[in-house]
Amino acid sequence: MPGNKIEKPIEIKIEIPTNAYFMSGIRDFTLSMIKNMTDFSEQWAYRFQSVVDELCNNAIEHGSNLDDKIYVTFITHPNQDIEIIVEDNGTNPNKKTATQIREIMEVNKNKEIAEIGIRGRGLAFIVEQWTDELKIEDRPNGGVKITVKKSLNDPEFTQKIPDANDPTRIVLA
């Protein structure tokens, strides 16, 4: 609830088994956490929901193997920004290095929308365009760590209220 907003920085770490089954729970958590613990608008709560989902899907597809884990960290600085870190263990046979991920993103960013395959829009469009900072690093254990940050001081912030009939609209008492 807005009245319960936390004034001190807060860090939340979550370990998730590498199974897409758990992604809806992480999305629900992200939406609720952004709405209730930060000053970001509802529109941005939905956007972070997509950002986290795409980062986790990437970590599962190109990072940690089945029966392994990925790690999601949320760090909120009240009135400043939110930082989201997603890490994998690099145990997947299809694993990509930080350099390879950056190269794939660059290729997809320069393609026409219809030319991109089934995959390739998550990091290159959703994550990149909805964050201010995007850092992709190799982890010492062989995995990849992706850090994104969004500042509350971005002038593009305007609260858009979804339609009253929109079932995803949540009114906080």
């Binding site: 992604m23 809806s24 989902d53 995959r119 829009r121």
Partner: protein, 121 residues
């Protein structure tokens, strides 16, 4: 697996000579269910005659990921190749926001109502 309900039906339109198939989605499309759902749409596109048009009713779809957008873009290509049209109708605000950030709204028309969608066919 995340819950997704779908329904395929035929729409009657006085404005179009060609058939219009309505695809109604309810729930969320994500990594856990899109690969199972997508073949059902490909099958429809394959069995329906050339010139068949499609309206995707997303009024009750509350989430979709980038891979789902990839499939929608691919369906659009296959429908266009068979001389049909694909229109997205009644998408929620957060879904339209995702279409916008990936640029899909520049390729596939989005309408507020089914009637508007029918007039574009």
């Amino acid at each position: 697996m995340t819950d997704i309900k779908f329904q395929f039906s035929e729409l009657i339109s006085t404005q179009s000579q060609n058939p219009i198939k309505l695809i109604v989605l309810e729930g969320q499309l994500d990594e856990s269910n899109i690969d199972d759902f997508a073949p059902k749409v490909y099958q429809q596109i394959e069995i329906n005659p050339e010139g068949t048009n499609y309206i995707l009713d997303l009024e009750k779809l509350t989430y979709l990921n980038s891979k789902s957008i990839g499939y929608i873009s691919d369906w659009y290509g296959k429908i266009s190749a068979k001389k049909g049209k694909l229109i997205i109708a009644k998408a929620l605000t957060n879904i339209k926001d995702i279409f916008n950030v990936v640029g899909l709204d520049k390729v596939i028309p989005l309408t507020q109502t089914l009637d508007e969608a029918k007039t574009l066919i």
